[in-house]
Symmetry: C2
Subunit: 200 residues, 2 copies
DNA sequence: GTCTATAACTTGATAGAC
DNA sequence: GTCTATCAAGTTATAGAC
């Protein structure tokens, strides 16, 4: 993608002036997340992006190309997130847990969309999810130095991510939506356990 | 399960003499789990079950009826599982964690199949998953008496379930497939933390 | 109960006008 | 760059024979 002074900083993740290409990608990810893979047809994506099917296919020549676009976007967002977690003042683990629940960020949307593709038997999507998980696990392991605890932390993170992504609305009292104070409690628990295990 | 050789088990979940109806339901759940919702077409299900499409539609008049069949099967299996967990000598929490990873049991298959449907925007499937989660959470809460810890345990269980269900094969070294000894470590960790928190 | 044939519709993709 | 046909293949469901 040629970036000239006239065609400004074309960061492919979240351009200031959303290009048609990006709108299409947004619409595809959104449909995947909200209504599943089967609903994310070319027709539906085109309509949601405000273009015709022909217009969509000019930018992405096939559905495969559309999928590749989402996966590439995910890879970029994960790379950024990894840096953000590493640089977090609150500590990597707290930052990871707090950012696990899907809140509608670009990364969340890309992750959910990729999960849907992975479950539709797309092995490239599965690989992308694994790569992201590996990166996060590595950070946690470096931070705690404790493999068992690190796994437990990753599983909690996964549980938060999947739960918020897959069972979004109207939960029952028992597993009612986790409030931010619930997350605080969770982080405290993990912090305490981490201190106890490293202290000994 | 009161099943005598003379009176073979005729419950609707997994009859010894698999009826056509059950074979169809098995095939549908299997296809949903292995290849996603989009691949679980009537054609594919019929072929996998060894009947024609017409034959399938004699037993389940529509795709909706097929879905209802899977959800009913799940409800029955969850009810049984709840009883088994409550009666477990090792304690409910250890039993729950150990049974979280999908190992191919009938319950696992029904859960995975229902997850796929839930992600295809089927709200009935979502409700079924929530009901199951509520039941398990209730058991854990009764066992530990500690809401924060119970949530952490449920999240670990969710993480195990989703991970094993959605990223099944060929994992990388970092998050390599959890061995049963890894699970042992995890259960030990949880047991210790539970003891510490209740002891104080 | 199970099959084949077929109707009605959706989906991904191509061709070509503007 | 974006649009409107248009097509071939696939999908759910019905009808009726055996």
């Amino acid at each position: 993608m040629p970036a000239t002074p006239e065609n400004p900083p074309t960061d492919s993740v979240a351009p200031a002036a959303s290009s048609t290409r990006d709108r299409i990608l947004d619409a595809f990810a959104e449909l995947l997340g909200e209504h599943g893979e089967r609903a994310a047809t070319l027709d539906a994506v085109a309509a949601a992006a405000g273009v015709s099917k022909g217009g969509l296919l000019y930018h992405f020549g096939s559905k495969e190309a559309l999928i590749a676009g989402v996966l590439q976007r995910l890879a970029e967002l994960v790379a950024r997130d990894v840096e953000a977690i590493r640089a977090s003042p609150a500590g990597p683990v707290a930052q990871l847990i707090r950012s696990s629940m899907a809140t509608g960020s670009a990364l969340d949307k890309a992750l959910v969309a990729t999960s849907r593709l992975a479950q539709a038997s797309n092995s490239t999507a599965r690989d992308a999810l694994r790569a992201a998980n590996d990166a996060w696990y590595q950070i946690v392991l470096e931070s705690t130095g404790d493999p068992v605890l690190s796994r437990a932390i990753m599983l909690i993170s996964d549980g938060l991510a999947y739960g918020s992504a897959f069972l979004p609305e109207s939960m029952t009292p028992e597993t009612a939506e986790l409030t931010s104070s619930d997350i605080d409690d969770l982080v405290d628990l993990i912090t305490e356990v981490t201190a106890q295990r490293s202290g000994h």
